[in-house]
């Protein structure tokens, strides 16, 4: 990003009366996405010690059998002393060269292409746009988890004792490894029922002291917009906010490989004198 060799599209910004100091918001846009030439294209150093995982197709997650590196502090969920990574986490780590993935029950390694195809198949509770949003935030150091999926059950037993979940609901939560209900592909394009709207990710700010057992509240919940803006924005945003428990909501939007985020915040303009 620092390498801004392509100066041709620098700002010819809107000129209002006297707001020369006001372009901060958009300034970064012009600096992004301009690394065409190979020398400035970001490449990752392959890691020496990779982690190892086994892809479990039936739960749509990888079971991690060998952990190397600090990323596991903020990646994967813990269930009965095992760590599982979701498809977006798995693919992201494979892109970084940090994870070797094996087929379940076999010795064959799964390639990035195999996994991309699984993402594109939209069957693992994650579509390509969701993956792009996940990757975008991870590059920047944010900590991202599937919405409503506990990082670890330890935290829940200790700190959420007062929360009385119905038995059935609790056991469902325990079994729920993070995959959304698998939606038929059509539904992802059609308008979802208002009541089915739910945030996609819980996003935490970069934090070197993050703990899965006590993650705290996310700084916001992220809903990935489907093809059009919420057509009845008022109603749809409200329906989403209801599931946010007072945590801010942001809407993510991916197009042409660009990821952008919007807040639709309820405000109340003050009564002026």
């Amino acid at each position: 990003m620092e390498d801004k060799a392509w100066g041709y599209c620098s700002s010819e910004e809107d000129v209002d009366d006297n707001n020369t100091d006001l372009h901060l918001q958009n300034a970064s846009d012009d600096e992004q996405n301009h690394h065409f030439s190979s020398h400035s294209f970001p490449k990752f150093q392959p890691r020496v010690a990779k982690s190892k995982g086994v892809w479990k197709d039936e739960i749509g997650m990888a079971e991690i059998i060998e952990k190397n590196g600090k990323m596991w502090v903020t990646t994967g969920i813990c269930r009965s002393n095992k760590t599982y990574s979701s498809i977006e986490e798995t693919v992201y780590l494979m892109e970084l060269g940090a994870l070797q993935l094996l087929e379940d029950g076999g010795d064959r390694s799964l390639s990035l292409v195999d996994m991309y195809q699984k993402v594109l198949g939209r069957t693992r509770g994650c579509c390509w746009e969701q993956f792009e949003v996940y990757r975008h935030l991870k590059y920047l150091g944010y900590i991202v988890g599937r919405h409503g999926v506990f990082w670890s059950l330890k935290g829940i037993r200790s700190s959420h004792k007062t929360v009385t979940l119905e038995d059935s609901k609790e056991s469902k939560q325990l079994v729920d490894m993070g995959c959304k209900v698998e939606l038929p592909i059509d539904d992802l394009f059609n308008e979802l029922q208002i009541n089915d709207l739910r945030p996609d990710f819980d996003v935490y700010p970069p934090n070197s002291r993050f703990k899965k057992s006590s993650p705290g509240d996310p700084s916001f919940l992220l809903y990935l917009a489907r093809s059009h803006p919420p057509s009845r924005t008022g109603i749809e945003i409200e329906a989403l906010e209801k599931q946010c428990d007072g945590i801010p909501l942001k809407i993510g939007r991916v197009t042409g490989g660009q990821v952008s985020f919007f807040s639709f915040d309820k405000v109340e303009l003050p009564v002026l004198p």
Partner: protein, 245 residues
Amino acid sequence: MLPRWKGKDKKAKKGAEAEALREPMSKIISQLQSSLLQSEACGFLSDNNVQLAVASEQIDLLDKACFGQPVRTVEKDVVWFQLSLEEAFYLCYHLKCLKIKDGGSGIQSDEELWTKIKSKNKTFPYFYKAYSHLRMKNWVVRPGALYGVDFVVYRHHPARVHSEYGALVLSHDDDKDLNGRLNVWSDIHCTTRLLGGVAKILLVLYINRNGNKDDSPLCLANYTVQERTITRWIPEQSREKGSSC
């Protein structure tokens, strides 16, 4: 974003802010109201605005309160002001300080005027609700076409302060497509980008009729308004600030 008072330097900006405090908009509006009442002001309805002839002291008040636009004519003692329908109806229905005639049929009752305006402009009930909602909170509301929005919203007179919001009026329940805004993402990108470039925030006013019709201006009392700002969040710039987002 803090209000941006106008002035060459810090001192002048402070000065503008102090002046605004000394002369709050509510006071200006009530001066205008009593002046128009006293002179029994009466405008007439033309196509999509209201023409009002005023004498010199009211020119000043209308200007200070930011209602309408003066029209240059050769007439000496009188200045014509052209009021938008929202402005005119606000003076007439809410402040009760303006009567409005319609060509042949004389002075209009609130109901008659409402029906006439509405027949020309179906979105009027929503736009008027939005306009009056902000005006009643003493914000100054001006047409926003130059910024690609329905209204621009000022904290005080535009001579003293830059507008803080560009406002769009949307229907909460979307029973009818009001003005087709924000239905596609490119429009959201476009509007936030444009307004961001001129230091304004996109304010969306969702008007909820709560199942009420719009037969009479009395219905307006049952409409509710939800205010939301739409802003772009840039993760690259928010990393260090931690919780602020």
